[in-house]
Symmetry: C2
Subunit: 294 residues, 2 copies
DNA sequence: CACATCAACTGGTATATACCAGATTTACCT
DNA sequence: AGGTAAATCTGGTATATACCAGTTGATGTG
């Protein structure tokens, strides 16, 4: 019965081969191994009875991971494709795919839609305490950074923004969304909201620079304190497109409220990071049960 | 040619049905729809030509997501299984699986190996600035928290710990690993390292409580400042087991160095969180270009 | 009633196949 | 040389099938 199945498979597979015309050698190789393989399958069921009890796709992922670790594969190098992995390790394409997907969720690998998968670069370090502008510290650290302005709008405060800014609902708000690239690759999306009456004509500025700088230079406003929330969550379709990652991936969301010396909140920012691309640090000072509660 | 393929499929499928014997109704249903389906397949290829151009598994995930949002499915409720989804939506098991996996990586759903998938509970909020013990603040917020001591060891400092503690390599170090549960479910793993000579007989204490409390009460040591790093990464197999999540998932790693009033580091902690289970907040004060220069 | 057993679940892994659409490369033609 | 069209890559989606190993609940036995 199984053999009959095999024969039928051959006929359909040949039809395919006539069109694609390239996998014939691989196919023949597998056919030669075929008879022995059939016995193997009936015996111990591959790998599970073996001492190496780890799933095949994990083993393959491990091999690639070590190739990255040893430097055989370097940052932004292209990885073997799903199909070539399946030939190389004599597994199905799906198994090769799972290995690559595992590396992707780990963050070691990123994928560019229909072009291939590549080795992820080193993480960017973002010191959230050092709120003196991510842009400026990054540039000081020689991180190449390109800022793309995605959208700028003048809108009004909904209930959430109103509460954050301690202003009435409907207050004029400036909003802009920017996409940050490093090494030619998107790293995070940032949307910032500013109280409009405090920063007239803010959007006239070139936003492809540190906004903290603009606020300091043109509006004499400096960040003094901030409240930050960091969480991991699933990516939204529109975000996925901007970050050029596939849906059903996780990102890190970082929200911050920035206050001036008087404690008045003037900027609300929302950042959506490719999780594998960053690392967040903070320096904290324990509030000795005085004002700060929670 | 395609039709021939179909006929062949039927014959093999019947063979299978004789053994499993349970999915016959589903199979018949599908067979009745068969002729129309075949035409559909030849025309626009399901869903892609449709206005609803989103992949089938995304649509299914969306439906379940809205069921969670509306409260039809509540925290820790069990979700439909992969097989029942595939019947319900008339898709293959793999497609149903992908829908569930998507929800899992989003964090809306967690899976307990071979028992099923369940709706994730609300996130725990962890204020990292408020270093006055996660345990104590959680208990103040009525979060039920169970601490399981996984391992306690007395070891010596490797180069990394030595550097962190500003002590020579080989210094005696106390280490313990604890698993934190909430609502009967594992939330994060914490491993803490203490300089041994400063905290004699520390491991004699019951570690199923706030260690900050122990340090304050028995050793007159209070946390004053801390350095924290947060990053997203892939989970290690041993961690996955403790957290009862599957491999190839992402977790949030939180490392912290805790210092006393004199600025001397006395505790190094490493936490591995189920990413969907937590949300980290911090209150930061901008260092006005004085000491802090990262 | 306690305990062992077994049938029926569950997700996990794996294969084979198919077609799609976008990206890239090659080949050819002007 | 330049440009276009076809071939051939890439991953994305989907189906059907199979067997595995835990979990759970029902069934029966001591």
């Amino acid at each position: 019965m199984q053999l009959t199945g095999k024969v039928r498979d051959l006929s359909t597979q040949n039809k395919t081969l006539e069109r694609t015309g390239i996998h014939q050698i691989t196919f023949l190789e597998r056919a030669i191994r075929g008879s022995a393989d059939l016995l193997d399958k009936h015996r111990g069921k591959d790998s599970r009875s073996d001492p190496s009890s780890r799933p095949r796709f994990v083993q393959i992922a491990d091999e690639i991971r070590s190739q990255i670790a040893t430097g055989a594969l370097k940052e932004h190098d292209i990885l073997p494709s799903e199909r070539s992995l399946s030939e190389q390790y004599d597994v199905s394409r799906m198994t090769g795919r799972r290995a690559l997907e595992a590396l992707e969720t780990e963050g070691l690998v990123y994928s560019a839609d229909r072009r291939g998968r590549f080795v992820s670069p080193q993480r960017l370090k973002y010191n959230v305490s050092n709120m003196v502008s991510f842009v400026r510290t990054a540039q000081a650290d020689d991180v190449d950074l390109r800022i793309e302005v995605v959208e700028t709008t003048e809108t009004v405060a909904d209930s959430r923004l109103a509460a954050l800014f301690e202003r009435p609902v409907g207050s004029a708000i400036i909003a802009y969304t920017r996409l940050f690239h490093s090494g030619g690759h998107p790293i995070f999306i940032e949307t910032e909201y500013l109280v409009a009456d405090r920063f007239p004509d803010f959007l006239q500025n070139d936003l492809r620079q540190s906004t903290t700088q603009i606020l300091e230079n043109s509006f004499a406003t400096t960040a003094s304190t901030g409240d930050i929330v960091i969480r991991m969550r699933g990516v939204q379709p529109d975000e996925a497109q901007l970050l050029s990652i596939s849906t059903s991936h996780t990102v890190i969301e970082l929200e911050q409220v920035i206050r001036d010396e008087a404690g008045v909140p003037f900027c609300f920012g929302n950042q959506v990071w490719r999780g594998e691309m960053a690392e967040f640090s903070a320096h904290t000072i324990v509030a000795r049960r005085s004002a700060d509660k929670d």
